[in-house]
């Protein structure tokens, strides 16, 4: 199968590219960021997915499947440009796929779209509407991109579309929202709360994506690994120290005094859990996570230890 990975220079996307290549697929990628020391047999096109040059890649290379991982968060790209990348980029991807005979598309989204609220169900199913918009405006464009991708299920019936909502990734070398939150020696928590966090190791993320591709799943799927664990367990299990702070003080200290930077609405994620029900994905693919909670946390602690000098 010829697989085109959009956003191929990201940590997970690189691993996926190598795994797919090793499994006998032809792989190429599009990313404005370089993949330094990338393998020669995986061609990376340094173009913006919204530009004409990206469509040329679709026209000339004629991929069978596309994995869309070219979305950005509030941490990597601020402001209106983020919306243009996430929403206009996603529209362009589906337009190119429809125009150039792509048979299968995987949209890689996030479980945070369900939103964190005191009265929401603990386990979110795929049938629930994404409610993150109400509390976290920074996620609005990503939620819109997810919903737009989902419309392809009926709008483009000839394309096998899967919208995957992945839980937090935690692994080596430690990229992603949760990994950034717990990178320092002291990790902030909201005083009086300790929400459950759902984590999946990077290698298992890659396995899940590969299975979704090879099993040609269609629909919206939550992708999760082992059972969720409280944030305090994650912090202590990775060798960090939890620092519970009253919510207003936490908002003041974010990005200062050695604490990580968080988006405005993200403190809700430190109060209330967002946990997903992944039964549908397990039934469709037979996916089994190889890393349990303990192994995930220990692997992160081993790869990113904190010593007296770290902050």
């Amino acid at each position: 199968m010829k697989v085109l990975i959009l956003g191929i220079s990201g940590g997970i996307a690189r691993r996926l590219a190598l795994r797919l290549r090793d499994s006998g697929h032809q792989v190429a990628g599009i990313d404005v960021r370089p993949w330094r020391d990338g393998p020669k047999d995986i061609q990376v096109h340094p173009v913006d997915v919204r530009k004409r040059a990206a469509e040329d890649v679709f026209r000339r290379w004629k991929p069978d499947a596309v994995v869309h991982m070219a979305t950005v968060t509030a941490f990597t790209v601020p402001g209106g440009e983020r919306g243009r990348i996430n929403l206009d980029g996603t529209k362009a991807v589906f337009d190119h796929c429809a125009a150039h005979g792509v048979k299968q598309v995987l949209f890689v989204g996030r479980h945070t779209f369900y939103g964190a609220a005191p009265d929401s169900p603990l386990y979110h199913s795929e049938d629930e509407p994404p409610r993150a918009l109400e509390a976290i405006p920074e996620l609005a464009d990503l939620v819109a991109a997810d919903l737009y991708a989902a419309t392809a299920l009926w709008r483009l019936p000839d394309i096998t579309t899967a919208v995957l909502r992945l839980v937090y990734t935690l692994g080596t070398p430690g990229t992603g929202t949760l990994a950034n939150l717990i990178r320092g020696r002291r990790v902030p928590m909201v005083l009086g709360y300790d929400p459950l966090f759902h984590v999946l190791q990077e290698e298992d993320v890659v396995t899940a994506l590969q299975l979704a591709l090879e099993k040609r799943v269609r629909g919206i799927f939550n992708v999760a690994g082992p059972s969720p664990v409280p944030l305090s367990v994650i912090i202590k299990g990775t060798g960090r120290t939890p620092v519970p702070l009253p919510s207003p003080l936490l908002s003041l200290l974010m990005g200062r005094a050695g604490f990580p930077r968080l988006s405005v609405g993200a403190t809700d994620h430190l109060r209330y859990p967002i946990v997903v029900d992944n039964k549908r994905f397990l039934a469709a693919t037979g996916f089994q996570a190889t890393y349990d909670e303990g192994r995930i946390l220990r692997a992160y602690a081993d790869s990113l230890p904190v010593g007296p000098g770290h902050d």
């Binding site: 009265d119 005083l191 009086g192 367990v233 299990g237």
Partner: protein, 290 residues
Amino acid sequence: MGYAGPPCKAHARCYGAPVPQSESLSARVERLELPFNEYGVDPYGISKKHLKLALEFFAFLYRNYFRVRCTGVQHIPKKGRGMLVGNHSGGVAVDGMMVLTSTMLEMDPPRLAQGMVERFIHKFPVASLWASRTGQFTGLPEHAVRLLEDDRLLMIFPEGARGTAKLYTERYSLVDFGTGFIRLALQTRSPVIPFAFLGGGAAIPTVTNAYALGKLLGVPYVPLTPYLLPLPLPVGLEIHYGEPLLFEGTGDEEDHVIEGYVNQVKDSITRLIEEHRAERNLRRTRRLLP
């Protein structure tokens, strides 16, 4: 098996299944048949550490402060799904706490009763944390179905917040029941174990409810007692479990069918209240008039 004479010294003050009091509370938590992981947390976030600490406090109240008298625990399934459905009373959730404690202390093996709590609980720091860690989740149908399908023991007060709003003079009455719990029981084929909770209205003798103050604080109301604060008095409490009720159906029945089932549960609870209220009055009379 009912009350079989006075409790012996080697056992807890238990009138249903005799449970050795020598077993530590920590050991009882360890014996819970919940899928705890290596961090002592189950897939719902219930934590052994928090359960042990909560049980230490609740067991003190249960045994020494409220001197809870409990009968009929043999009616609660030792394994598998079940819904404990009872009357609400007492202004604050003393009844929920004591029912949870009764299934932990009186049952062998112990079981954790998981309450379907009011939505406002999880808005508050600390309360949200402790409710979650001890398995008390917001009363949403999604939670109830999932927990029952996982063969958990649910604790439901179908009177809702209106039940705890009863004044002292209304302490043994029942307000209207919701019907959702019966549809859930039918849908998940779960037995309903009715129970009567006695003494809550005397422990927190509500003379009025301050609704405006409650709105300010983000709760439905604040119960006011003759001594103002809704702090419970050391009144003897009683929990009496009745025989399980199993209803046939799918949960999609017409309202009048569901209401018939609801009335059966309500009648069972009323009978348990009246029967044990009479015994309670008799015991009180004997104590006052030796």
